[in-house]
């Protein structure tokens, strides 16, 4: 009985429209928010670009945590790998074309994803969590010690991206970086939308629900999850490279435990298992951070903690999840 439902799930997935009207609307909303942001905060485009980079990290985390059910507190490792790869390519090898730097970031993120996936997927539950924390500390220590490559605790400087496509210089206002970031986010969003709807994406959801049943159906959970980890690493690598290109400096904090924990907070705040949830959470959290930490940096951590407790107690589905459930209930009532 249950077998047939799982089969239906996989059989009907390709028959469904791959990229429907709802997705186009979502894309339109993203672009609209991006345009609004451009005109509302013309002096704060650097912050908006940082939000986009963080959003890419959170989307990438959503792929493994929301869609595959892997609890990790070390996801910044993939982001930092992308950022350092793009930065090192520019600072040490003179590869200054932004698109080439981006490619380096994607490859490094994917490789880091492969390594992390290989290690983290070996255990479940608490040991899995501990492995992820140990990994992020290991990456952090490594970047700290290899200071001739990474600049250590001083950060990696000397990143000087040339004009995008040879036409658009990265200006002081961050306009080019912002538009570049929005374009990247839109492309990544469309691709991820296709991936999570594909039979492969459905398989990953199935693994989250019940790995034993998926295995008995003849699929290998481990291979599927490792693949998802590599995809997730590539997405995080895009975010890292964008961060390196736009700020022109890479710090050790991009490989920190705090960054990993914050990205998880953003994801949960928005709602796991949904790309819109990841985006919503990032935007809300980053704006909140910008306002509160400007007002009173001391209480920032307390506020994040209280926020987390409140979300877990009162809105376990996150902002987007709760709103979506509310809308669905209203529709049913009518």
């Amino acid at each position: 009985m249950t077998m047939t439902t799982t089969n239906d799930l996989i059989a009907t997935a390709p028959a469904r429209r791959r990229f429907g009207g709802g997705d186009l609307a979502g894309l339109a909303v993203i672009l609209l928010v991006a345009v609004l942001g451009y005109f509302l905060f013309p002096n704060n485009l650097a912050l908006l670009t940082r939000i986009i980079a963080a959003a890419l990290l959170v989307l990438s985390l959503d792929l493994v945590t929301g869609y595959c059910g892997v609890a990790t507190l070390g996801h910044a490792a993939l982001f930092g790998a992308g950022a350092y790869a793009a930065g090192i390519a520019s600072a040490h090898y003179g590869i200054n074309d932004p698109l080439a730097m981006l490619a380096f970031g994607i490859v490094a993120g994917a490789v880091a994803g492969l390594i992390c996936g290989f290690v983290i997927l070996r255990a479940h539950g608490l040991p899995q969590l501990v492995l992820s924390i140990a990994l992020i500390h290991l990456f952090h220590e490594f970047a700290n010690k290899a200071s001739s490559w990474t600049g250590g605790s001083d950060g990696l400087s000397g990143i000087a991206p040339t004009a995008l496509l040879g036409l658009y210089e990265f200006d002081l206002w961050g306009r080019t970086a912002y538009v570049f970031g929005v374009a990247l986010l839109a492309v990544v969003f469309v691709l991820l939308r296709l991936i999570v709807r594909s039979p492969f994406g459905m398989l990953c959801r199935g693994i989250k629900e019940d790995p034993v049943r998926v295995r008995s159906m003849g699929a290998s959970p481990k291979i599927a999850l490792t693949k998802m980890y590599v995809i997730s690493g590539a997405v995080a690598g895009v975010g890292g490279a964008l961060n390196a290109i736009s700020t022109q400096v890479v710090g050790l904090d991009s490989l920190s435990f705090t960054m990993s924990a914050e990205s998880l907070v953003m994801l949960v705040l928005g709602g796991t298992g949904s790309l819109f949830g990841a985006l919503t959470g990032t935007v809300v959290f980053m704006f909140f951070e910008d306002v509160v930490s400007a007002a009173n940096p001391f209480h920032w951590l307390t506020m994040v903690g209280a926020l987390l407790i409140a979300v877990v107690l009162f809105a376990p589905k996150g902002i987007y999840g709760t709103a979506a459930a509310f809308v669905a209930r209203r529709k049913e009532a009518q």
Binding site: V119, I133, A134, L301, G305, L308
Partner: protein, 288 residues
Amino acid sequence: MQTVLSIAIDALAYGMVLFVISIGLSVTMGLMRVVNLAHGAFAMIGGYIASYAARDLGLAYGFAVLLAIFGTIVIAVPIERLLYRRIYGAPELTQVLMTIGITFCIIGIANYVFGPTLKTVPLPSELQGSVDLGFRAIATHRIFAILCGLAVAAGLWYAIEKTAFGVKLRASVDNAAMAAALGVRTEIVYAVSFAVAVGLAAFGGVVGAELLPVEPYYALRYMVTFLVVVSVGGAGSIPGALVACLLLGAIDTTGRYLMPEFGEFFFYLAVIAIICVFPRGLAGRAKG
């Protein structure tokens, strides 16, 4: 030879402090299946209270330790009643988020109340200086820490293996629903073991203040170490935790002595290697 001895003593003392702090975490995790990331925060609270009592109020060391233990329990029990109870049996992600939220709050509050500086717990004159063993002088405080660890291990072993409460505790760890059906009031078992766990954390935080200095980010900095001990030892196992503490203490201390610039690196590498080889911990059982 001298180096080997000092490494051994330091490793033993460090391992024992780790044991005192994390054994409570191990027991509660085995019992309630809660991934409690805030355990280190309770050890930190203990350290702060002891520091305040001994340095600012001028109380004797023994009083300061007692005050730290009871003070921390008084702070922690309402947190357990109000917050932890809601996440028993919840998915791991929920537990992680809740407890990391609690940790962040405690760090923020400690930073606000006590400031970002290091706090010391002044030692009484009997624990300062060193003891001459004939061939080697050893800092008295290290011996004190080792003895405390041994006492806690022996006490816990007795309480769990030989007393009526220990029987109920083991029954609840193995199968909480069945134990409740047989008349064990698991609520009380949970509450008492949580209080004992927090008290031990506070005690370890005070005794280990020389080795793990008390500061606001204590809870985050050592969170990993405590969790590692539990997952390497296997949740709920006292011998497992003891072995894990001594092993990890040895690895960490040796790393710090011989390769100070790469100490942490090898520690985390060893952790990853151990967990990959023993995914359920050294003394872990199949999860029920």
